[in-house]
């Protein structure tokens, strides 16, 4: 166990983390138009092709106004389905028709060799908060864990994306834990634009609101 701990602390052995950087870079390069600097949130944002949801990650955790990693999505489909935003838990924020859900990773003042880039900011997550990076075995996806079961995932390899199930077999996926939303009044069957479905995970099948996209 000591050896395990020692080895685990050695970042050069983090194959999954390193591979996730390469894979994330592929996404950034595949859809450069959908990646932008998000000055308001102090980082970078990757928008869904339909523009209804964005994955945002901070470039400096000491300056993040809300979360360090989060999803920003339109509140309307959920409000239409019965959402009472006042009943959402603390990790949710409702703002000008948008919902923001995510987590604070830390308060580190991140340092970069040059100008921060979207990829460099992602690398900081891998480097400092590796536990927030996940490999989703059953879908062959990498992902960033946004806390409370919310996540942003992308296919490890677009060429061999081997997930089963039609709706899951996508290149990027925005996933929400439906429980707090349902608790806040959402009727999951009435949410437009989000698929309410079961997702196979390492811990078994779980229900999620999904917005999957192909980006190729």
């Amino acid at each position: 166990m000591l050896a395990a701990a020692t080895l685990a602390g050695c970042s050069s052995l983090d194959v999954v983390g390193k591979q996730s950087v390469t894979s994330f870079d592929t996404i950034l390069k595949t859809i450069p138009d959908q990646v932008e600097t998000d000055e308001m949130n102090g980082g970078f944002a990757l928008a869904a092709p339909d523009g209804t949801v964005r994955f945002i990650w901070s470039q400096d955790y000491s300056k993040s106004p809300l979360h360090d990693v989060m999803l920003e999505l339109e509140a309307k489909p959920f409000v239409d389905a019965g959402l009472d935003t006042g009943k959402l838990p603390d990790n949710y924020a409702a703002y000008e028709g948008m919902l923001m859900v995510g987590t604070k990773l830390g308060n580190d003042q991140l340092e970069y060799g040059g100008e921060p880039t979207a990829l460099a900011a992602y690398e900081q997550i891998v480097k400092k908060y590796r536990q927030s990076i996940n490999y989703h075995t059953s879908l062959d996806h990498y992902g960033v864990l946004l806390g409370d079961g919310n996540m942003f995932e992308w296919a490890r390899d677009f060429g061999t994306n081997s997930a089963t199930g039609e709706i899951q077999d996508k290149d990027i996926v925005f996933a929400l834990n439906p429980d707090p939303l349902i608790a806040a009044g959402v009727d999951p069957e009435k949410v437009n634009g989000w698929a309410y479905t079961q997702v196979s995970t390492d811990d078994g099948d779980v229900w999620k609101f999904l917005k999957p996209f192909n980006v190729q």
Partner: protein, 825 residues
Amino acid sequence: MESNVLSIRGMTCAACAQRIERTVRKLAGIGEANVNLASEKLFVKYDATALKLHTIKEAVSKIGYEVVDKTDCQSATIPIGGMTCAACAQRIERAIRKLDGIESVSVNLATEKATVTYKPSEVRLSAIREAIEKAGYKALEINSADAVDEDRARKQREIKTLWTKFIIAAVFSLPLLYIAMAPMIKVVRLPFPAALDPMQYSLVYALVELLLVLPVIGVGYRFYTVGFKALIQRSPNMDSLIAIGTTAAVLYSIYNTFQIASGNFLAVESLYFESAGVIITLILLGKSLEAVSKGRTSEAIKKLMGLAPKTAIVLQDGGEKEIPIEEVEIGDIIVVKPGAKIPVDGTVTDGHTAIDESMLTGESMPVDKKTGDAVYAASLNTTGVVQFRAEKIGSDTVLSQIIKLVEDAQGSKAPIAAMADKVSGVFVPVVCAIALLAGIAWFIGTGGDLRFALTIFISVLVIACPCALGLATPTAIMVGTGKGAENGILIKGGEALETAHKINTIVFDKTGTITEGKPAVTDVLTADGTDADRLLQLTASAENGSEHPLGQAIVAGARAKGVELLKADSFDSITGRGIEARIDGHSVLAGNRKLMTEREISLAALEEESDKLASDGKTPMYIAVDGDLAGIVAVADTMKPSSQAAIESLHQMGIEVAMITGDNKKTAASIAAQVGIDKVLAEVLPQDKSNEVKNLQTEGRKVAMVGDGINDAPALAVADIGIAIGSGTDVAMESADIVLMRSDLMDVPTAINLSKQTIRNIKQNLFWAFGYNVIGIPIAAGVLHLFGGPLLNPIFAAAAMSLSSVSVLTNALRLKRFKATTRKA
């Protein structure tokens, strides 16, 4: 002149011996040629310049006898370390057999000893030891003074080392198994360190597994050193299977670790470190249990070896001096106090006591010993202080002979083992081939799934271990012969043990076997109202000076009845007739009918009774007092108390019982009727006993001959099983296949029963050993999977393999519960 001794086989009677003598004596250059039929040996003295030994051998062979050339051979039992399976034993046998001058070699996996008969003129013992070492095993020291203790200590060390290795292996392979399996178990979420999540930290996970498996491989290094060495020498053994299987698993896993390191972290799903680790651990567990069980199979011999005391109290310079047993010399006067053990064999010179000889004979009642009686090493002096003269020391004591005999028996192979030996010899290469073929077939059949093919390959290699096969026979023989020794039944080899269970006819010698062999007073008949005790008193007093066995029997009979013997005023022995004496003022005449007729004494009063006694096989002795017939004292050889019950037991086992005797038919029939003998072979001369046995054999019977000594030796040799009873003498031991240390005939059914149970046990062992492989290999090769059935994980294959040996040993150890046949109340 040079002298030599040749062992001869095929002699059946004295005529054979004479024929051989005549033939050899005709050879030019021969000095003497004497054949000992009992020991089946030809002693020759010859002029070596004119006659070669092989010419003598050829001459004997030409006339139809087999010369067993053991005389210029020596026998050695070499303890061997490092054997793990039957293939190892075979390999060592082959290695030794390749040497010049090797007559025979038998390696017993269970005792871990090689019994080698070799010609010292052609091969030295050191060369044999070297051959063993070259084959990759350890030739240990032979027969040192502390051989017993050393052997025991060595075994203990070996067991301890194996357990230590197992514990080390388990300490590393349990966490290895846990981290390999826990992430796969979805039903229950087992606690698992996130830092080792194989899908998040694949390389760390792989490296930790590698770090955990390395110590396990380290403690199991022998599987690799011995296994690959054997493989290189093209005689693969069980270690080779383990080595190939686990090496394939480890190398494939290391390859995948490199894959992970180079970015293909999904290769984490193709790690087999835990298979290798757990396989080695389970095999070490199996070997540890096996070592403990193997130790228990030879407990009987260890018990025997541990019986002899380490010191003796010797009378020296008028005082008592305690010296080590090795320093006792023949002729020393040894003092043994109550509660002490007799240190060496000898004859009592002073004192009387009761000695418990149960450790040698199984007889529980202590035996009274007085001056002139023999005492044996390891027996226990219970009551008085005795002094005795040392006559046999060291390896010459009866105890040493018994140990040697049991050791030899345990080192021998039963014919039933031949099949297992043959299979073991080709087993490993065949299994390697099956594993390879199955792996290739599945690789092709699954469209190139190397992981699946490797699983099949490893499973077949690991499950197919010939251990159980190799242990099936020797362990049962060891426990069986050991159990026999505990009961005073010395079985001289696996072949005897196996043949004994097939016996359907037993021929008993009469005198000394069915009967006590000592005449005793059976009847006292009086005429004209003479008092029986008075008649016995007068007769015994008259016979007191007689040396005739019948006279001595009457004296003993009177003494046993507490009759006071009177002093004879005169005594005269009349050769061939009887005696005449003057007792208490009376003239006493005791003798046969002829004596009475000559003295004109009428026998009419007891004529009828006399005839009846004769027809019952008794010898009537007529007694006349003061010129008139006073009565008859009848003497006869009495039945042993156990004879009738033993014969009844044999009948219950479906065995026909015959009696062979030189007595006339009437007497023989009478005795036979008393004990329930089925068939009587009467009026047979000693030299014709073997022919009678042969006649029975030609009728298709499997015949055992039970006799008590030298005159029965030819018949004992001819019989399928010769059983020497009672004496434990050198000759009896040499000529018989089974030696019964007691005179109790109940040991005969016990010996047959023991043989039956041992052979049944061997068959069970072979069934399980074969069955296990017959079932296990196809399952491991994926035959069931072909039809939608389960696939055998290599770990379960290793567990099953280890259990197979342990189960065979456990079954063999069940024989320890064997109980001697007892008389019905």
